[in-house]
Symmetry: C2
Subunit: 344 residues, 2 copies
């Protein structure tokens, strides 16, 4: 499929379900961007879940987010259960504008649907010339270091830094060692997991994806990654007034209202009045990219966001595969809703 | 030794070298706090290096930091080469005060000496009721993921969150898999390193500490830890206008002016007007601490800062060991400087 076609299908489906064109567009962009970057778990395959959540009233596609500045540089957002990307983009744009005055601005979002990948928001910020950090909570799938019960989300962290040369630094990483989507995919394909990414129900490390589903995902990087993921859980949960641990729900299922939160920090480097900011970053990243590789490495040293950008450019030009079952499911929804919308 | 005695020695030495009592006290607190938490690499053993840097004019112990609000919530600090902890505490206190008005405040520090551990600053913030994030850059000792040359600092990240129950969440972690201090200590003791923490000069993973010194420390947690450490390098270096990569100098040596930077973010949760903030965090951390342990685990599940707090309490009450060579070195400095101060 081509991105433009996928985007149109998604917009049509969401519009038929009651989403205004702007909200539908932001949600469609987010699903398409994930597929363009080869992250299908956050791509168009999520559309049936989104549609089901809308039908059940768990998502209000026409919700108007409520933005309130609790202090000069602190924005609280109540998404009123709207589509996540629509709430996030409106919040981000408000933070970017404020950061020009205050230097730094923080936004804490509650009651917004799943945001999808963080990278597109980071890129939107970077294109506006600002630095951005983002964190969000998610369903408890990760065990604490030294523990065995899933109590912490895969809580991603994002960092975006403008470099001025068209290849910004974009880090978008979960604090779990693997995604549950990848565990489920391995189970379907009958493959083993890499070592060290999950434990079984008894807390024993396992490479069996079925055992991992009954157990928990491990934090990446041992005690440090655990500390970081827990730090994200606390920062986001407390500052956005949203749930912690096993009370986080409503991003993967079609049963529960969303209870996760999101935290954005935007910094306007122009307040520093430093000429050299973008050029320095680009030179440093280029130095890393040119540096000698590890023994046995088959590719040059990469920097965060670079590979994903190449994949995106190629898929945008040449199109990309999505599973036939997903295409057919989306087409059925599309045809059915179009008829429904006409008959309504 | 007992903490109070060690603190007095350090204050006396720094005072004799020209530090005002407040700056000497903050620096002494920082060295003593590291030893109390069993982090000797950041403890009193650093005093001879500090003294030598002062004698050479690389540290100006009586410097008055220059704090400038570039925007309502963005503070730039020029430490004028003063003692790191003195600059950091003054900056932090200004950020905490500002956060009551703006909700969030960021401080970017340049030209300040080595800060030491981040944990004491996080605790100072938490005691004032605010949430804090901290990042600093350091000498390039870590290779990029897939690379072999040390181009990135061990760049620590700190997160402090008040919990309201006397045991705040305090995460203070380097983004390198091991500290160079631990590598050097293993070399002195003739011990091997753990697997996966370093590479030799050819980029081959090694457990030989001598080979590691000639090579580079690995990022913790593979590609993700690499991305995070690089993100810290860019955020701190760009927003504080300080050096990147191999240009970062002057925290471990007695030759170079300091070129690293520090970044603090403070958030006042009281702007949220949420009653339950501290209690929720304490309950969640307690749930994690009570949760079932991994197979074969010998201790209960811990949360960041908890073990360090126990160690500190014990060492504060009972005293602690420091190597005789360090004691004698400090005593010689103390006696010599006291005589010099009298004779001058």
């Amino acid at each position: 499929v081509f991105a433009a076609d996928a985007r149109r299908w998604i917009v049509d489906v969401l519009a038929a379900l009651g989403a205004p064109s702007s909200a539908a567009g932001h949600q469609a962009d987010q699903l398409v961007e994930a597929d363009l970057r080869d992250r299908p778990s956050h791509g168009i395959q999520r559309l049936p879940v989104l549609a089901e959540r809308i039908r059940k009233g768990l998502i209000e596609p026409a919700a108007v987010p409520e933005l309130e500045w609790l202090a000069d540089a602190f924005l609280r957002v109540d998404g009123h259960f709207g589509l996540g990307p629509a709430v996030a983009v409106e919040s981000l744009d408000a933070l970017v504008a404020r950061s020009h005055d205050t230097g730094v601005a923080m936004g804490a979002i509650a009651n917004a649907g799943h945001l999808g990948m963080l990278a597109p928001y980071l890129e939107r910020a970077v294109q506006a010339g600002v630095v951005m950090m983002a964190m969000t909570t998610s369903e408890a799938l990760v065990h604490p270091h030294g523990g065995r019960v899933a109590l912490i989300g895969t809580n991603p962290i994002g960092i975006g830094v403008p470099t001025g040369d068209g290849t910004p630094f974009i880090l978008d990483m979960a604090t779990g060692a693997i995604s549950m989507g990848a565990v489920i995919a391995a189970a379907h394909r009958g493959e083993r997991l890499p070592e060290g990414v999950a434990v079984d129900a008894n807390g024993v490390p396992t490479t069996d994806p079925h055992a991992a589903r009954a157990g928990a995902i491990s934090p990446f990087g041992g005690a440090k990654g655990y500390g970081l993921g827990l730090g994200v859980e606390l920062l986001v949960g407390l500052l956005s007034g949203t749930a912690l641990g096993t009370e986080v729900r409503g991003t993967l299922d079609t049963e529960h209202p969303v209870t996760k939160g999101d935290l954005f920090v935007v910094v306007d480097p122009s307040v520093l009045r430093l000429e050299a900011v973008p050029g320095r970053a680009a030179r440093f990243l280029a130095e890393i990219g040119r540096s000698p590789t590890a023994a046995g490495a088959s590719t040059s040293v990469s920097t965060p966001g670079r590979r994903s950008r190449r994949t995106r450019a190629q898929r945008l030009a040449e199109g990309y595969d999505i599973p036939l079952a997903v295409v057919e499911q989306v087409r059925r929804m599309h045809d059915g809703l179009a008829r429904g919308a006409v008959s309504a």
